[in-house]
Amino acid sequence: MSSSHAKDFSFWGGRIPPEIESMSKNLKDVDQELFRKLMKAVVSSLEGKDCVSLMKSIAESTTIPQDRLGHIVAGMHRVLSEAIRIPPSSLKQEAFKENLRELRIPEDFISDFSSVVFGNRRSALETATSTNDPHLPALQDFKWRVDVAISTSSLSRALRSSVLMQMKLSDGSFHCFEVPLSKFQELRYNTALILKEMNDLEKRSILQIQD
């Protein structure tokens, strides 16, 4: 029985992902400076930035062959993605470090991993990785105007108020439309209703269970 069964769980789930395994085998002769450069590139890539040129300059600065660097980078990427998926309330820093120790990763490197996963750059990473997930557009910008129609071609004194709304969604779409008063009341009422339901939902015990 392998020692990993004695733990509650490993942050990577079931079997050790092949990238992580091969990374741990390729860390010999890698000094901390190189490790940190590679880590920086991986974090950059997780944040969505292009790091081809960065990787090229790292490869040129070292005698370690490119395919070994490739294994290391792939493993780092996997470690970080898997660890960031799990909320900090479920995966504690010590447990994370223990998992990495089982792979015989040097302690210094473990600290570097830990400082990314549990440091202050974590929420930026979470935001960046979640943008790739499927989702409906969110309301990015909301502007409004209250209008009163004074007169029209049919009525010299109409005096009918309405709301003009302008919504920009996160998918870039733009909607400008008028909201008759009755519809505005309906919108306002329903929004309040959803908020109430959300509050009720959040209070229910299923959400209080910590896992």
Binding site: N132, L139, T152, S161, E178, V179, K183
Partner: protein, 198 residues
């Protein structure tokens, strides 16, 4: 009703024709006209019906058109200026419309006028209007980048219709608790503004 250019008709001629029409027949005519006054681009009477009217009222096509146009015009002016029924009756008698017809205009206007004004107020055009509000509350458990979420998210569906179109365009937007709260607070500000208008 189908609107032509403001006809340069002679109201005298129209009045003569209207006065000649039997009171009961005219009553039905004016009821139908006022019922359809708020509809844009729709004929008040079908071609078939107009043929039948010509026969029933002993009017040729030109004369009938004049009668229908003038009646509609009088009612439109009454709506536009929100004339009082008594004033309408007086003004019509002043252009030599028979008292029985003038009274009929006045009574019809008094009975159906307010409803017509309301319909016109609700019909004020806008390029796009919100016609439908729907929503769904979901509990998101996980996604590719995040495990164990348990985060409530609401989807708002807004049905928008373009003026002169039957098709509704659906806009879907996602909100988490915080985002929805912010949206609601903005709606409350709008409500405050609306309240200050009354």
């Amino acid at each position: 009703p189908l609107r032509h250019q403001r006809p340069s008709f002679c109201i005298k001629e129209a009045v003569t024709f209207i006065n000649a029409i039997d009171v009961n027949k005219f009553s039905r005519l004016i009821s139908r006209i006022i019922q359809k006054l708020h509809l844009k681009g729709e004929r008040t009477f079908s071609e078939d019906e107009e043929q039948k009217l010509q026969t029933a009222l002993s009017l040729d096509k030109q004369a009938l058109d004049l009668v229908l146009e003038t009646t509609a015009f009088i009612l439109e002016q009454a709506v536009y200026h929100n004339v009082k029924p008594v004033a309408l009756q007086q003004q019509l008698e002043a252009v030599h419309l028979n008292p029985d017809k003038a009274e009929m205009f006045s009574q019809t206007w008094a009975a159906t006028g307010p409803e017509l004004v309301e319909k016109l107020k609700n019909n004020i055009f806008a390029p796009k209007k919100l016609e439908y509000v729907g929503w769904q509350l979901n509990l998101q458990m996980a996604q590719s980048s995040q495990a164990r979420l348990k985060s409530p998210s609401a989807v708002l569906q807004l049905g928008l219709r373009k003026e002169d179109s039957e098709v509704q365009e659906n806009v879907f937007a996602d909100f988490n608790h915080q985002e929805l709260l912010e949206f609601y607070n903005k709606l409350e500000v709008v409500q405050g503004q609306l309240d200050s208008l009354t």
